[in-house]
Symmetry: C2
Subunit: 199 residues, 2 copies
């Protein structure tokens, strides 16, 4: 699929690596979801002893299970539950890392409805415990990915609750967030952005 910038120009992924030999660039991330991209990056961080960060399993409400003889238990009826926390957490340089990843088709802002109230409350609680909390936001239109600190997200969330706007302007994310440029390895080097705001 050809990806185009809003102005119609075709988008080419530019790994922010010094290695620019075309024959060694891995374009296998084409068509990946943000979740895939982060999982791949986390695998790299794990393999290289840099950080231990995992996506939590999807919460499921199990209603009925079959226990057939001689084979694995089979779940016959279950439903998806709303997550009460964020999707990703782990440890990096002794620090607790906690974040959620969201994609948006919007070109000019990030709609706050992408978050549930529970998730924002969870971030607030983690911040109180000195955790490193943030959101990774991807604008699908031009494949730009930003890290936005939870404190900034919460500011907008709270304004929304008292009648403020229901989205964060992209300009604010560009100014206050951290652009995560795609690389070969890790694909999304978001811990580099984390380095820039932890002491």
């Amino acid at each position: 699929m050809t990806i185009r910038y809003p102005n119609g120009n075709q988008f080419y992924e530019q790994p922010a690596s010094s290695n620019t030999h075309n024959d060694s660039i891995d374009f296998s991330n084409r068509g990946m979801t943000l979740e895939d991209e982060i999982n791949k990056s986390n695998q790299y961080y794990l393999k290289n002893g840099i950080a231990v960060i995992h996506k939590k399993p999807t919460p499921i409400q199990i209603v009925s299970v079959d226990y057939p003889k001689r084979s694995a238990a089979r779940i016959k009826e279950a439903y998806f539950r709303k997550a009460s926390t964020t999707d990703y957490n782990g440890v990096y340089k002794g620090k607790y890392i906690d974040f959620d990843a969201k994609e948006t088709k919007s070109k000019t802002s990030f709609p706050l409805k992408n978050f549930h109230k529970h998730q924002v409350e969870h971030m607030r609680q983690c911040l109180k415990q000195q955790g490193i909390c943030f959101a990774i936001i991807k604008f699908i239109s031009d494949q730009s990915v930003y890290l936005l600190k939870a404190t900034d997200l919460i500011d907008y969330w709270d304004q929304q609750e008292t009648g403020g706007r229901k989205s964060i302007p992209r300009k604010v994310i560009e100014k206050d967030g951290f652009l995560i440029a795609y690389r070969i390895n890790p694909l999304l080097p978001y811990l580099t952005a984390v380095d820039s705001f932890i002491e």
Copy 2:
């Protein structure tokens, strides 16, 4: 259900609290599993702004889902997957907390087969990132609960892999671990044990 010590004496739960008025002691934890007890304790820690620690959802492999009109998606076929990490993690005083909870019916030792290789590897990785890792072990026979540091667990695990014993003697757990005495709130004050070995 009446719980008895190995010598036949009946077991009464003794909350390690200064409050010994019988009419205010909460015996509602009778018959709870260790998981229930820890979840209840985590709720207390969360509500009181002491720590943010959650059990991860059970990992499920989804095979088939129905999307009926006008109602929630229904999972029709799914299977339990082996966890690749521990069950609990979170943040406490800025530190990353990671642990697993296991019950054993054995009276004299804790069988290492209660852990999967993946979980032990995960603990090793978290330790490398300066995470606080441990196991909470409950001897069902007399309702004793201990916190055992991951480093101690890993010592025995590695010995087992080179032909050593397949369990940790209870005496070692009593000596090197930390007894967690039941209280009213939190029911299992395991973070008090954590306090004693983090600086």
